[in-house]
Symmetry: C2
Subunit: 368 residues, 2 copies
Amino acid sequence: MPVYADPDGGVAIAPAALHAWTAELLGRCGTPVDIAADVAEILMASDRRGIASHGTARLPTYVARVAAGVLDPAARPLLARSRPAIALFDARNGWGHHAGRVAMDWAIETALTQGAATAIVGHSNHYGIAGWYALRAATAGLIGMSFTNASPLVAPTRSRTPLIGTNPIAIAAPAGHWGAFCLDMATSTVPLGRIEVAARRGETLMAGWAIDEEGRPAVTPEAALRGALQPLGGVEATAGYKGYGLGLAVDLLTGVLSGSAFGPTVLGFFSTEGPADLGQAFIVLDPAAIDANGVFSRRLEGYLDQLTEAPVIPDASGRVLVPGEPEVRAEERADVRGIILDRAHAVSLHRLGARFGVAFPVDVPAIG
Amino acid sequence: MPVYADPDGGVAIAPAALHAWTAELLGRCGTPVDIAADVAEILMASDRRGIASHGTARLPTYVARVAAGVLDPAARPLLARSRPAIALFDARNGWGHHAGRVAMDWAIETALTQGAATAIVGHSNHYGIAGWYALRAATAGLIGMSFTNASPLVAPTRSRTPLIGTNPIAIAAPAGHWGAFCLDMATSTVPLGRIEVAARRGETLMAGWAIDEEGRPAVTPEAALRGALQPLGGVEATAGYKGYGLGLAVDLLTGVLSGSAFGPTVLGFFSTEGPADLGQAFIVLDPAAIDANGVFSRRLEGYLDQLTEAPVIPDASGRVLVPGEPEVRAEERADVRGIILDRAHAVSLHRLGARFGVAFPVDVPAIG
């Protein structure tokens, strides 16, 4: 996921304060305390990792969905079917973050005895950043994978219209002094948020990012917003069909396998017409089932050492990075200076707090 | 994988005849009959699917490796460790195709009771096309995934030198009247074979395919062959770090997890200096553990119907494709007209046959 630079004129808030306020707000919307703790933790983790697009900035939309009666804030996931190494959880249209945490914890616990386990979640909602769940397994010493489908924003190779989601893939693993390897990527070239940033900045777009509504390469953000995102790889000649195939594979493991919505049948993210009905998948492998405890992590550490010491290309902006490193740097900054919310984001949370009687804990200039 | 157009002046051979000849040749090199049958089947399947780069064209190199004593043609894989849903197979430096088939069959059989299963293979050799193993699971009504690491040809984002393999990802699933969904893709933008084709044709390269030895975008195939392939996505601004991350994730599941070689420590494909020491991974999920039998396949079928009926972009060369469709079309052609080997390929097999006393079953003009 792209880590965005701190915004100018932003508002700083301590991670713990943002977590506590979010949990309180969710409680006022009818969310039981333990479920609210999961949702708040995962939203705050996204903001702390610098992925502003997937964190508390989404709260106004989530609350609108609860108010419209299309997301049940009190629903608890149900273990619908299981065999020794696989389970299906029915999220029953509750918070995706909570259902995802429960499902990932089942997969972690099961992998510790079976060696590997898969949890599939159906009839779910948005679950935030895919990487959070994969990292939960890595923190337990395991290899974790996490997938979700999403609203159709990406045009398959040759298609003129968006038919599949940006369907992310996350994989994490323990990596010695590197902490964890954590790849967390949309299967489109860029996320919708990057196009919106380009629109605010008046930038033109790079080839391979998006197409316009006629299906031609989109040059302006405005044309892209009326068109569709392109899959990872861009056009057909630069292997965009691989990104399309990966996005489709994620949908197959999540929406299709769980019996939820998939592809063009998923509603738009801002729609309050009906349940999101998303699917998620979690796969966990225990390296200790394959080799002595800790050996895998040390081998991966040494590999990452080699990669990060490689000679670089002439215009490189730094050394080779480990997937997940920019997010860890953002976490370190947030723990020192607080999470920096941009003004529009801070204002929206401030207003939400006022509406539900949960005062936002920091002042927002020109409002608070 | 790219399906190459039939070569001009090629030599046609029936798939069954190529299979039988290959098995016989492998037997003369010291391969037991059942192991030779697996290797021949998988090499022939690659040629039949139009992936000439991964089929019998590799036989001269394989035979050279056996002759040099760095590949043991008679070794049988050993189940080294297992828990109910995961197993490690030690390929003991035998044929990767056979070890892969044995490991995938273990995963299929285990998934039918456990619901999901993972097989890891270490100390292995090249195993041909990743998609063959994934399709074996799909044919059994399951979702199959297959991964392998490979010789370092790809430069991680910002690196000037190749440090990781083209490490493919394959995923296949049953899809009703579509037969199977089968994504089989290298995690580089293009495979090395595509650069070699460009060299033979005197083409210049597209941006995002490769860098030269200074780390700059390679314009000519010759510059690329002295440099490195680029990961899927191309340069950093078009999200090449995602392809790099995926390639690294594959290595983590294969070479690193199995305790085999990984990244820059893997020897070159043509090297006969030592064992290849590759790793492979296979993951299988049983949709019937999640939903009534056949429901998954029908849902996927309907989804693929929708995608392939989508309106197309102005310069599209046809409708939206299902991953794996070009390979199925190549199989259909091969079953009617035979597999078309290019002249150099046919000549190399003819010579190999003469050397081992197994006459190649079709004439090669100007030789046979």
